[in-house]
C-alpha cells in the first residue's frame, strides 16, 4: 500500500518533481486566496478600482509638477513616461509589499496544514498583477489623449511585463523568507522601495543619465526593465537588445535565487514562525 514517509530532511532542495505536482494540485488555492485578498482590500469594488488608478495618477501629476518647478524637460511624452513607469513600478512595489509578510502572516495555516509554502508569495504576486491590469487600460487611454506615437514595437510590452513579474516573484520569495528570520525587514521595505523609485529611470529618463552614473544600469535591476518599458509603450520604439538581456538576466537570477532560498528553507518555517 502507498505510504508516506517523513524523515529528517536533507539540506538543499526538496524533490522538485513532487513539489511541483503538489503545487499544481493546489492552484485553486492560489486563485481563491488572491481573490479573497483583493476582496478584503476592496479592490473588487468600483471605489477600490478608482483608488487603484487614481493613486499613481495623482502621484505622477505631483511628480510632473515637481519636474516643471525644478525646470526639467517637460512635455506630454515626459508625462506619459512618468505615468507608464510609475504603473510598472507599482507592480513591483505591490508584489514586494504584499509578499514580505505573506509567510509570517500565514502562520496559522503553516502550523496546521501541510502545503507548499511557496503558494503564499505566489498569491501575493497574483494580487499585485490584478492590481496592475486596470492601470494598463488607463495608460492605453492616456497615451491616446496625449497623442503618443503608435507602432508594433509596443508589443514588446508583453515580454517586458513577463520579465517584471518573474523578477517580482523572485524578490517576493526572497524577502518573505528573510522576513521569517528578521521580522523587521517589513518595516525597512518602504525605505527600500522609495530609494529604488528615485534610483530608477522614472522621474528622469534613462537617456538623460550622466555617463559617469551609467553603472546604475547594471546594479539597479529595474533600470533596464523600465528603460525598455518606456521605449516600448511611450515612444513605440524597439528596446535596446542589451537592456532586454540585462533585464532578463536580472529577473532570472533573482527568480532562481529566490526559489532556491525559499524551497531549501520552507520546511523549517513551521518550527520558526
Amino acid at each position: 500500500m502507498a505510504s508516506e514517509v517523513y524523515e529528517p530532511f536533507r539540506k538543499g532542495l526538496p524533490p522538485l518533481r513532487k513539489y511541483w505536482r503538489t503545487l499544481w494540485n493546489r492552484r485553486a488555492f492560489i486563485a481563491e486566496y488572491s481573490r479573497s485578498e483583493l476582496h478584503e482590500q476592496h479592490f473588487d469594488s468600483v471605489f477600490g478600482q478608482v483608488w487603484l488608478i487614481l493613486n499613481p495618477l495623482l502621484l505622477s501629476g505631483v511628480y510632473f509638477v515637481l519636474i516643471v518647478i525644478i525646470g526639467g524637460h517637460s512635455d506630454t511624452t515626459r508625462y506619459g513616461h512618468l505615468t507608464a513607469c510609475l504603473f510598472l513600478f507599482y507592480l513591483v512595489a505591490n508584489t514586494l509589499q504584499g509578499g514580505v509578510k505573506s509567510v509570517t502572516a500565514g502562520q496559522r495555516l503553516i502550523l496546521n496544514t501541510a502545503f507548499p509554502r511557496i503558494m503564499l508569495p505566489i498569491s501575493a504576486t497574483v494580487v499585485a498583477i490584478f492590481k496592475f491590469i486596470p492601470t494598463l487600460l488607463i495608460f492605453a487611454i492616456l497615451r491616446t489623449v496625449l497623442g503618443l506615437p503608435v507602432g508594433w514595437q509596443m508589443l514588446w510590452a508583453v515580454p517586458i511585463i513577463l520579465i517584471t513579474v518573474i523578477f517580482s516573484l523572485g524578490a517576493a520569495m526572497l524577502i518573505s523568507c528573510i522576513n521569517v528570520y528578521f521580522r523587521d525587514i517589513a518595516n525597512f521595505l518602504p525605505y527600500f522601495t522609495r530609494t529604488l523609485l528615485y534610483l530608477s529611470p522614472i522621474l528622469w529618463e534613462a537617456s538623460a543619465i550622466k555617463p559617469q552614473l551609467r553603472k546604475i544600469e547594471l546594479v539597479n535591476p529595474l533600470f533596464s526593465i523600465l528603460d525598455s518599458w518606456s521605449r516600448a509603450v511611450v515612444h513605440a520604439q524597439q528596446p535596446h537588445g542589451s537592456a532586454l538581456v540585462i533585464a532578463a538576466a536580472w529577473a532570472l537570477g533573482i527568480f532562481l535565487l529566490g526559489t532556491y532560498f525559499f524551497l531549501s528553507r520552507e520546511r523549517e518555517f513551521a518550527v520558526r514562525v
Binding site: S3, Y6, N112, V271, R272
Partner: protein, 263 residues
C-alpha cells in the same frame, strides 16, 4: 477521500524513534536589529526546545488512540509530524493512508475572512478540490450549527463557535486517519455530546482515530489504547484505564476529579 479500503488491524501510522526540535529566538520576535546588537555582544540568540524525544508509537486501523499529557508535553507537535506539517528532526514516521487534511486549527487562519471562506481556503490549501469542499460544505455548516454566522468574519466568533467549526471540518471530510487535537471538549454540553456521538460513529468504520484531550473520562470511554506524553517523552502506553489512572495520579488529583475536568 481515498478509495483504499483498510481492514481492522492494519498499520495506519508507525512512529519510530521520533525526535523534534524547535529552534526559537530568545526574543519574542527575531529582528535584524536585535541580531546586530547581540552580534556586537557575542550573545547567543537561539533557544532550542526539544518537543519530542525518541517517541515510538503504532496506530492501527479500526482503533482509537488517546493521547494525554500536560500542556507543553508535545502532543500537538506529534500530531503535526504525523500530518506531515513538521519534518522530524530525528527518527521516522510512516503513514499508510490519508491523514485528516486539516488539523482543526488550520480552519480560521484568516480572522478577517468568513467561516465559509476559511473552510474553503483551508480545504484548498490542504489539497482538496473545490468539488470535494462543495460536496461537504453543507454537512459541515449543518453540523457546526452556526446559522448565519458562517458568513460572518471569524474574528467575531467566540472560541466555542470556532471550535465547533474546526471540529465539524475535521470529522466531515472523512479521512482514513482522523486527528482531533483538543477540539473535542470545547463548546457547550449539547455540542459536546453531539461531537462525542460523531466520534463514536466514525469509530465503527475502518478508520484510525487519534484523540488528544484533557477530558480523561472521554478518553477512557472511547479509546482502545492511550499514550501519555510528558516533556516530549513517551511515559506510558497501553490500556486506557491503566494509563489514565497513572496520569491522574501524576497530576496529584483523584481520578474522579480529573475525569470530570472539561477543558
Amino acid at each position: 477521500m481515498s478509495n483504499s479500503i483498510h481492514t481492522t488491524g492494519d498499520l495506519a501510522v508507525s512512529v519510530q524513534h521520533l525526535g523534534l526540535t524547535y529552534t526559537t529566538t530568545i526574543d519574542r520576535r527575531p529582528t535584524l536589529k536585535s541580531r546586530l546588537k547581540s552580534m556586537g555582544r557575542g550573545t547567543k540568540q537561539t533557544r532550542v526546545v526539544r518537543a519530542l524525544d525518541d517517541v515510538m508509537l503504532d496506530v492501527h486501523y479500526g482503533s482509537v488512540l488517546g493521547v494525554v499529557g500536560s500542556n507543553g508535553a508535545g502532543k500537538s507537535t506529534l500530531m503535526r509530524v504525523i500530518s506531515g506539517i513538521l519534518p522530524p528532526s530525528q527518527g521516522k514516521v510512516e503513514v499508510f493512508g490519508k491523514v485528516s487534511t486539516l488539523l482543526a486549527l488550520g480552519v480560521g487562519f484568516s480572522p478577517s475572512l468568513s467561516g465559509r471562506e476559511n473552510v474553503q481556503l483551508g480545504g484548498l490549501a490542504a489539497g482538496m478540490t473545490r468539488r470535494e469542499i462543495e460536496d461537504h460544505f453543507d454537512e459541515i455548516a449543518e453540523f457546526a450549527e452556526l446559522g448565519d454566522a458562517i458568513d460572518a468574519p471569524m474574528r467575531t466568533y467566540s472560541s466555542g463557535m470556532y471550535a465547533r467549526l474546526a471540529f465539524s471540518v475535521a470529522v466531515t471530510v472523512k479521512p482514513d486517519i482522523l486527528i482531533v487535537d483538543e477540539a473535542l471538549s470545547t463548546g457547550d454540553a449539547k455540542f459536546k455530546e453531539k461531537s462525542l456521538n460523531k466520534i463514536k460513529e466514525l469509530r465503527s468504520d475502518s478508520r484510525a482515530l487519534i484523540l488528544v484531550s484533557h477530558a480523561l473520562g472521554t478518553i477512557t470511554d472511547i479509546c482502545n489504547e492511550v499514550v501519555w506524553l510528558d516533556k516530549g517523552k513517551l511515559i506510558q502506553r497501553g490500556n486506557p484505564d491503566e494509563v489514565v489512572d497513572a496520569y491522574a495520579k501524576f497530576l496529584h488529583v483523584g481520578k474522579s476529579a480529573a475525569i470530570n475536568e472539561d477543558v
